[in-house]
Amino acid sequence: MLRATLVIAARNLRARSRDRSALLVAFVAPLVLAGILSTALGGSGGFEPTVAVAGDSEQAGQLAEEVLGGPDLSAVVTVLRVADARAARTAVAEEEANAAIVVPDDLGERLRAGDAVRLDVVRAADSPLAGDLAEGVASSFAARLSVAQSSVALALEEGASVAQLPQIAGAALGQPPAMELAAGDVEVVQANAASYFGPAMGVFFVFFVVALGPATLLRERREGTLARIHAAPVPTLAVLAGTALAVGAMAMASLVTLWAATTLLFDANWGHPLGVVAIFVVLVLAVSGVAGLIATAARTDEQVDGLTSIAAFVLALLGGSFGDVGGLPPPWDGLAQFTPNGWALRGFVDLSAGAAPGDILLPLVAILAFAALTLGIAAPRASRLVGR
């Protein structure tokens, strides 16, 4: 049994090594797409957004120069000063800025009058991280403004003069919040788009690699080589096992190649190697289950190709292989948890952010559960594919 399995696997791999379309799908296409998506949607380097600050007030100046331009953010953020809210929206729309914070020109008067303070944030749909950053900065600044407002009110109650109010407010604004993360408390792991799209394309294309297995079996049945194998003293299970072993090996080789290439060429950070390999293994199992279901439904290798494309694209879209699905409206934003793509990418994102292998147990278990379900349904029917 084992010997026959290895003989069949070796033959499959030899044939695949001479199949240009299979090599393109396994090794070239995912790398090319990962590179295109990484450079097109994420820039060539890391996260370096431009945030526009709208308004001529003193507070707008403080936001631009002391907060966004301060030591914590100036290495990452580029600040663009614009006149007003309209200019801010234009800057974001024309992609001169990834996000914008609009500071009302009468902010100072509002503070002194004790009126409500409002800061508007303009977000770009294709720069969610920049929008999150702008919102976070705006929230932090608004909190400081509230502190300043409270300080002014307290000072007035204490008998401070109106002339002293700007100084009091400015001092309060300049104070750091009661609780703040000190520099060095958080190790920031610089992530780039390639760290996302490298794994994303690997997860996407592995479907097409694994689908070579059932397509091969159907073609062998049609061309008569399967009958010749059955005429030999070879267990039926060896045919299935040998084919699965071959495509599994090819899928792993594809993923490892993509891992190495995106790391070297695009500075991708996939995270802890053990965690990466663990996700590779369970992912190949899960995708094999999907391929098995397709194989039991298809009658020809052309049908296998068609069904594989449908499954691969649907799961990729829902799972986030083409971009973050977190910004989609419900229920679409939650469907990723029903896909091996979604869980695999979640694991890769965590690893890329510095998680240890032990921290990605939940994604691994989720993917294994998916594999168990699909393989459990497909396995009893798979014998039909290779049977007499």
Binding site: V7, R14, E223
Partner: protein
């Protein structure tokens, strides 16, 4: 000497259609047995059951003294199967194809290399062994297809219509190779709808039609079943039905069937009947454009037994 292959009562049904019904025969070592019948007669279904490719509804198969019942996969080592389709991997070389199939039969190392070399030599492809099969001609592929069934030196070689679509030169080469194997002691089961091949190659012939073995024996024994009757082909542009009716009334004519373009007769001493046939044709208003007299052969045996031609 005990038979290499013994099969009895083979049966297989596909829905309402009984594809094989009670087929049984034996093949001795060094004997070539031909299974002759038209397309759809049940030849491929029969040998698929014999090679363990198809589950039997009924019947037993014993190969080299061991039953083919799934309990002993090793019994398949005694069988060499050459399918009707060219079952080779086009992206592999001739050597790689033979090596793969040889490994499935347990060959390895020096023995495998020796058998692969022998297979290439048998196929006349020693100089092309390193070339991919998708670059071979149809005849080359057919010969390699046969060689792949012989790697493990089986006691029984089963060939399912091995010369379909092959040029005459390659066909002769294939038949010569099979004859040599038979003379070397290999038992051969050869299926075909080409009477000439079976007559040339086989010691005994089983005639199968509609799933049943309707006759079996040597060529001589089968031909004797139809007596000394010749097969006479009459070609006419006139009324073939009237011609057939007129011929049936002649003494010595045992059967007359209307066929495309004329009438086919089975008659004793056909040549002596020629004057009577010409007269009968004139009376029937169906003047003859040609007459062809053939000595008794398996085609006429089949026609006699089934009323059909092998290649209808």
């Amino acid at each position: 000497m005990s038979a290499v292959l013994t099969c009895t009562g083979l049966a297989k049904r596909y829905g309402e259609r009984q594809a094989v019904d009670g087929v049984g025969f034996e093949i001795a070592p060094g004997e070539a047995y031909g299974l002759l019948g038209p397309n759809g007669a049940g030849k491929t279904t029969t040998i698929s059951m014999l090679c363990g490719l198809l589950d039997r509804d009924a019947g037993d198969v014993v190969v080299a003294g061991r039953p083919l019942d799934g309990s002993d996969p090793g019994v398949k080592r005694a069988i060499g199967y050459v399918p009707q389709d060219i079952a080779l991997y086009p992206e592999l070389t001739g050597q790689e194809n033979l090596a793969f199939f040889g490994r499935l039969y347990g060959l390895s190392g020096g023995k495998l290399r020796q058998r692969v070399a022998a297979g290439l030599e048998l196929a006349g492809l020693t100089d092309r062994g390193a070339d991919r099969v998708d670059g071979f001609s149809g005849g080359m592929k057919r010969r390699l297809n046969i060689a792949a069934g012989l790697l493990h030196e089986p006691r029984l070689l089963v060939l399912d219509e091995p010369t379909v679509g092959v040029d005459p030169q390659s066909r002769n080469a294939i038949l010569d190779s099979v004859a040599a194997l038979r003379e070397g002691g290999t038992a051969v089961l050869y299926t075909s709808h080409y009477m000439e091949e079976v007559e040339r190659l086989c010691d005994r012939v089983g005639i199968i039609d509609e799933g049943r073995l309707i006759a079996e024996g040597t060529r001589r024994e089968l031909v004797d079943q139809v007596g000394q009757a010749d097969r006479v082909e009459l070609t006419t542009d006139g009324d073939a039905e009237a011609l057939a009716a007129a011929c049936r009334s002649l003494e010595g004519v045992s059967d007359a069937q209307v066929v495309s373009g004329g009438v086919r007769l089975v008659a004793l001493r056909g040549r002596s009947l020629l004057p009577a046939l010409v007269s009968a044709a004139d009376r029937a208003g169906a003047p003859l454009s040609s007459i062809d007299v053939a000595e008794p052969d398996l085609e006429s045996v089949f026609l006699h037994l089934t009323g059909k031609a092998l290649r209808d």
